[in-house]
């Protein structure tokens, strides 16, 4: 189904601050992988490039997951001693 125009991918401008609105829009488009997909489909992506990209993204996701876990561990809050090793 088509997304309704002027509802999807739309930001409202407040106080005539166009740049801020554009930045919000661009950031969302970038986060949602829309701009990347647009750039990727300008030229044909050869199968070996596709494979390499997918593998790279997989590795990156695994790394990020582990890193997130590590950060959550370091930042965990309910410790008996809030600042271990500092007393």
């Amino acid at each position: 189904m088509r997304h309704p125009s002027f509802i999807a991918r739309t930001v409202l401008v407040h106080n005539n601050d166009v740049e801020a609105a554009c930045r919000i829009l661009n950031r969302i488009l970038g986060r949602e992988d829309i701009l990347d997909q647009f750039r990727r489909t300008r030229f044909f992506e050869k199968p070996f490039q596709f494979r390499r990209r997918i593998n790279f993204e997989r590795c990156k996701a695994i790394y990020n997951e582990d890193m997130d876990r590590k950060i959550q561990f370091v930042l965990r809050k309910n410790r008996t001693d809030p600042f271990p090793g500092c007393s």
Partner: protein, 200 residues
């Protein structure tokens, strides 16, 4: 053949040897077009192309907290802007590509009224695809629309290129009141096969 004749001629003169030395490298013509050793290095050192996507990579955690009502709601089509409901506001369509920017002004239904592109504006060839050209074009068409007595508009942008931000800014500079910005870049996750990659 020419070279042989020239050599024969040269030998007749006493200065033949000297001149022959000068001519010899010319006729060998082992001229390399360009020395391409580190193209990747060179490309990396070049400044990145402006695609009008400022803030794409920005990581602002709480930037949206200050902004309220940035995103459209279901009642947006009927909300009044300068006394006109949103759905009846005229539209600026901006088509951006790396090589050109085309701005067209349509009414709320999408019937085109005015057209302007960087090429029409007087920028030719590579200059069409610059942010300066886009801004100038937007200024021109913006003032034309203002003369018609239209002040409040919405903007729809399609494509990436240097003119993306510049065109919107130009419209704003011409004195128009931009209510909303919409991105309508055509993106597909299963597109028909695109053209082959450029050889570098």
């Amino acid at each position: 053949m020419f070279r042989n004749q020239a050599q024969k001629l040269m030998k007749k003169f006493t200065l033949g040897n000297v001149v022959q030395k000068c001519i010899a490298p010319l006729s060998v013509s082992a001229v390399k077009c360009r020395e391409v050793i580190d193209r990747r290095e060179m490309l990396r050192s070049l400044p990145s192309v402006d695609e009008g996507t400022a803030g794409e990579k920005a990581v602002d955690v709480d930037s949206l907290i200050g902004h309220k009502n940035v995103f459209p709601t279901l009642d947006l089509p009927n909300r009044l802007f300068n006394g006109i409901p949103f759905k009846d506001l005229p539209i600026f369509n901006i088509r951006v590509s790396p090589n050109n920017t085309i701005i067209s002004f349509t009414d709320a239904k999408g019937v085109p009224n005015l057209n302007r592109s960087c090429g029409v504006e007087g920028f030719k060839n590579a200059k069409k695809g610059t942010n300066v050209a886009a801004q100038a074009t937007a200024l021109t068409i913006g003032t034309k629309v203002l003369e018609r007595g239209i002040k409040t508009v919405r903007v729809r942008v399609r494509g990436l290129g240097p003119g993306r931000m510049a065109a919107i800014k130009g419209l704003q500079m011409s004195g128009l009141d931009i209510v909303s910005i919409t991105d309508s870049t055509r993106v597909s996750w299963n597109p028909p096969r695109p053209r082959k990659q450029k050889k570098l």
